[in-house]
């Protein structure tokens, strides 16, 4: 078997009995049970308005109704507020501190964007009301499309993908459609070993076999390996640029040239666009399709895991295959073309989702773009790259890096060689960061680096917060090297829970609350 092991324990090595003390909480942190443990069975916290003599019996649906109301509790408004406010206090967030997750781009989420998305003219409109009644919404989509096309230099954009991963699928399906249209269906997609998991997962979902391209010793795509693997069976090469090691692929133009020469398409994973927005246009790198994570580069909120949005910019060759709906301008009027089997969008790859895409995120992203403007967006990339290099400069004397020479882009990558002999692993170090008030950086990704630690500060961090972060890491690093193993091995000691048993969760999945046996 191939032993894949990312080297970390998934349950606590030592356990101790639950601490004594009041069940209510500690200081400002309250304990909060599940809603199912608060009573509320048969109760509702909503008052309804019924019209006079309104018959609620639903006799005409006899035989089709459920045996009983769903067996779920209801909370009054005061209970609701308490429950969720208490839960919220158990989350770390960008609004609390620098959130250094590499490749996630945890930048500040402007509150103006939230206000704009909640205007009734955007929030309270139905996707299928007559298009003449939503011209303002279509204008937002047109404006967003214009900003994305101009920033990337690409002639077309598909707005509808609901997330980055769906954007990748959109790009690959457009490529597949283009190849089939020219009678040259191919079977393989090439993906670097450093790629994010969505890349091969998407290629497989699009019906392709995946082959990996190797990496050079200095963290770049191995051109010789790429050239060797390109051939008439390769439909596309998927490259992240800047790559997942935080480096700009210097040979990207050559990568594109080789790819095109072999009759394949160059798909760019735009997750790291924050490093180059306003400074580089993907069209000038030879990109054929690129998804943009609005929830990364364009600050739409991460919301604890979603929703995202992943519009895809497309070359002229791929544009005819873009998914519907298409946004079309008829002089003064804007119009969505929704039919894909015939008509204007006859070559379209079809629909990727119902309706038109993540309108709420379009409004937010457009407000963000308008606020920053062309000059501000260029400054975003510069400050993001500067902040990452500054962190690298401050930490490199103490922490080891796999590719220390030359500048990094918007994220700085370290490995765990500097922890050798300390008895402290990357995981332990990360958990100790929690005790120090910081969310850990991305760990163990990219897979090609042992014990990887990937730090992306973004441009919305002030100097004092970056220094606070570096000071903290340096202090922790010194403690690790001095042999203070206990501080790390059992961390975090100042979080609501400590070292959860992930093995148990996987061996004995408990995915919902059930009534305890009487």
């Amino acid at each position: 078997m191939t032993v894949l092991n990312v080297g970390r324990p998934t349950r606590p090595s030592e356990t101790s009995p639950a601490q004594e003390g009041p069940p209510s909480g500690r200081g400002l942190l309250q304990h909060e049970p599940l809603i199912f443990e608060l009573g509320g069975w048969g109760k509702t916290g909503v008052d309804f308005e019924t019209a006079a003599d309104e018959p609620l019996g639903a006799a005409d649906l006899a035989g089709l109704t459920r045996a009983a109301a769903p067996d779920l509790p209801g909370l009054s408004e005061p209970e609701t507020l308490r429950h969720y406010v208490r839960l919220s206090q158990q989350n770390h967030a960008i609004d609390l501190a620098l959130y250094p997750l590499g490749s996630c781009t945890m930048k500040h989420n402007p509150r103006l964007d939230e206000k704009m998305a909640r205007l009734a003219g955007f929030l309270d409109i139905h996707p299928l009301q007559p298009q003449s009644t939503v011209q303002g919404a279509l204008a937002v989509m047109e404006a967003l499309a214009h900003w994305l096309k101009t920033l990337t230099g690409m002639p077309a954009v598909a707005l509808s993908p609901k997330a980055g991963a769906q954007g990748e699928l959109c790009g690959l399906l457009a490529i597949r459609a283009a190849l089939e249209a020219r009678g040259d269906a191919r079977r393989t997609v090439l993906v670097p070993t450093s790629a994010h998991g969505t890349n091969p997962a998407t290629a497989a979902q699009a019906g392709y076999a995946v082959r990996e391209i190797g990496q050079t010793a200095d963290g770049h795509v191995d051109l010789a390996d790429l050239a060797a693997q390109l051939g008439p069976d390769v439909a596309a090469v998927m490259v992240t640029n800047p790559n997942t090691c935080g480096l700009f692929e210097r040979e990207v133009v050559e990568i594109a040239r080789l790819t095109h020469e072999a009759g394949a398409f160059f798909y760019c994973d735009g997750a790291n666009f924050n490093a180059i927005v306003g400074r580089v246009r993907p069209v000038d790198l030879g990109v054929d399709a690129m998804h943009i994570n609005l929830h990364k580069t364009f600050s739409t909120p991460h919301g604890g895991g979603g929703p995202g949005a992943g519009p895809v910019v497309l070359s002229a060759a791929l544009a005819p295959f873009a998914p519907t709906p298409w946004l079309v301008s008829d002089g003064e009027e804007l119009r969505l073309v929704e039919e894909h089997a015939a008509g204007e969008a006859a070559a379209s790859l079809g629909r990727l989702c119902a309706f038109h895409g993540q309108m709420g995120m379009y409004v937010r992203a457009l407000a963000y773009m308008m606020s920053h403007g062309s000059d501000g967006l260029r400054q975003v990339a510069e400050d993001a790259v500067l902040n990452a290099n500054y962190i690298k400069a401050r930490l490199l004397g103490v922490m080891s890096a796999p590719f220390p020479d030359g500048p990094c882009m918007h994220e700085a990558l370290f490995d765990d060689r500097w922890l050798e002999g300390t008895g402290v692993s990357t995981l332990d170090f990360a958990k100790a960061m929690i005790d120090a008030g910081f969310h850990p950086m991305t760990m163990y990704f990219p897979l090609v680096v042992h014990g990887a630690m990937l730090i992306e500060p973004t441009e919305t961090e002030p100097r004092h917060e970056i220094d606070r972060f570096c000071d903290t890491l340096l202090e922790l690093a010194a403690a690790a090297k001095a042999g203070d193993v206990e501080r790390f091995r059992g961390a975090p000691f100042h979080a609501p829970v400590r070292r959860l048993d992930e093995t148990l969760a996987a061996r004995r999945p408990r995915l919902r609350w059930t009534r305890p046996e009487a």
Partner: protein, 448 residues
């Protein structure tokens, strides 16, 4: 610039610590041919005031659903959301937090997901629910792919009552994965027609309840027929409030239930972001897509929650993952869960009954118009009518009179030959006055 905290002095000092002369030195790896000399040709930065003014103008050019009589449904529904919901989802710790990969500092998010999963399981009547998908349509597509993996068969039968956008989305995804979808002709009361289409190669049949024409069906017989042939039953619901009143998919023998959760906690928002619900039987668990949150204990024996069964997912299984999905619809799932926590099961049932009563009232008002024929025999809060003129033109004319009369079926599927069919939806936000206005306007338009 208000979102960029670094000052020129900061930048100068930091550059010198980094050992670079100018910021351009840090972009040295960019090929010269690709370096932009200055900002691209777009407007410069703008104040909040200016952005508000510009976007406010665009918002003002749209007619909000709440501004007058409104009867659109067809997969997105206007419901009243309590003020607490939007207030809570804007809390920093929910809005600006990330996926809970560090569970010790994300128990807020994780506990919410666990509660959400429990609620979805309770509503669908199936024991395993995931932490949400992008929306109902992609959840439907993923269900078909999952059925194909589980049964090792390559055909799916889609009922003639499935929302055309869902059928299209499913076809796109299934086609790329080598699964063939067979769509039955659009039929008002046609879910049971899938039975005749089941054969030994059928991985699953997909039915919708209530279907796109509003028809409510007991799909128990369809479940039995599917199972007898070794196929799975997928039940799609686009109006989550219907779970408060109708027989649940689990009660009727479904293997997988998918739904659009937008109706609970989330506004119309012109089609997104929404929240996909996904639930299945216990034995299908390991083939399910999407994130799963599970209960466990910590080093101190305290209960806690973690993301689990991650080996199904893309970040570990890569090209062998059950799906390429990465994000879920976190904040929308939170909104759903808060609203559902306030409603409770009995509240959802009451809400559902009010919806049904309003729709019955609307149906009666339209049935009284001589040339209007009500097509849907049994419905929840939405039904189809046949008009004497093309429905799209009627809707356009009524929109000019500020009545949003519903969704013409031709908008969903221009090739179905159902140009005279209009889908009409009423919810608890629909007033008797709205219904009168619709009836009057429709009467006038038809007579004209």
């Amino acid at each position: 610039m208000r979102y960029l905290p670094l000052t020129p002095a900061d930048r100068a000092e930091m550059l010198s610590i980094v050992g670079a002369e100018t910021i351009d030195d840090l972009f040295v790896d960019v090929p010269a041919s690709a370096r932009l000399a200055g900002p691209v040709d777009l407007p410069p930065h703008a104040s909040e005031l200016a952005v508000e003014r510009a976007l406010g103008r665009l918002a003002a050019r749209n007619r909000p659903a709440g501004a007058g009589p409104f009867f659109c449904g067809a997969g997105a529904y206007r419901h009243h959301v309590p003020a607490s919901v939007d207030h809570l989802i804007q809390r920093s710790e929910f809005l600006t937090s990330y996926t809970p990969y560090q569970p010790e500092i994300a128990q807020g998010t994780l506990q919410v997901l666990f509660e959400f999963q429990t609620q979805v399981a309770g509503l669908t009547g199936l024991p395993v629910a995931n932490a949400s998908m992008y929306d109902g349509s992609t959840a439907c597509a993923e269900a078909v792919l999952m059925a194909s993996r589980v049964t090792r068969r390559r055909k799916a039968v889609l009922s003639g009552g499935l929302h055309p956008h869902y059928a299209d989305t499913t076809h796109t995804l299934a086609h790329s994965a080598g699964v063939e979808t067979r769509r039955l002709p659009a039929t008002v009361d046609g879910e049971a027609a899938v039975i005749a289409a089941i054969d030994a190669h059928t991985a699953c049949v997909v039915v919708q309840n209530p279907n796109v024409f509003g028809t409510v069906t007991d799909v128990t017989a369809i479940a039995e027929a599917a199972h007898a042939a070794g196929a799975l039953l997928v039940v799609v619901t686009t109006e989550a409030v219907s779970y408060g009143l109708l027989k649940s998919p689990g009660e009727m023998g479904a293997d997988i239930a998918v739904a659009e959760g937008q109706s609970i906690g989330n506004g119309l928002s012109f089609g997104g972001p929404y929240v996909g619900l996904f639930a299945c039987t216990e034995k299908l668990l390991r083939q399910a897509p999407g994130r799963l949150c599970g209960e466990t204990v910590d080093a101190e024996g305290r209960r806690g929650f973690v993301l689990t069964l991650s080996t199904r997912e893309q970040h570990i299984r890569r090209d062998k993952a059950t799906s390429n999905i990465c994000t879920n619809s976190g904040l929308c799932a939170l909104a759903f869960s808060i609203h559902m926590s306030m409603l409770g099961g009995t509240g959802l049932e009451t809400l559902a009954r009010i919806n049904h009563a309003r729709a019955v009232r609307a149906r009666d008002a339209l049935a009284a118009i001589p040339s209007v024929e009500v097509l849907t025999p049994r419905f929840f809060n939405e039904f189809a009518v046949r008009l004497p003129k093309p429905a799209a033109a009627v809707v356009e004319a009524l929109a000019a009179r500020d009545v949003l009369a519903g969704v013409p079926y031709s908008r969903l599927d221009p090739a179905a030959g159902l140009d005279d069919v209009l889908l009409v939806c009423a919810t608890e936000t629909t007033t008797p006055e709205d219904i009168d206005a619709l009836a009057r306007a429709l009467n006038a338009e038809i007579a004209a």
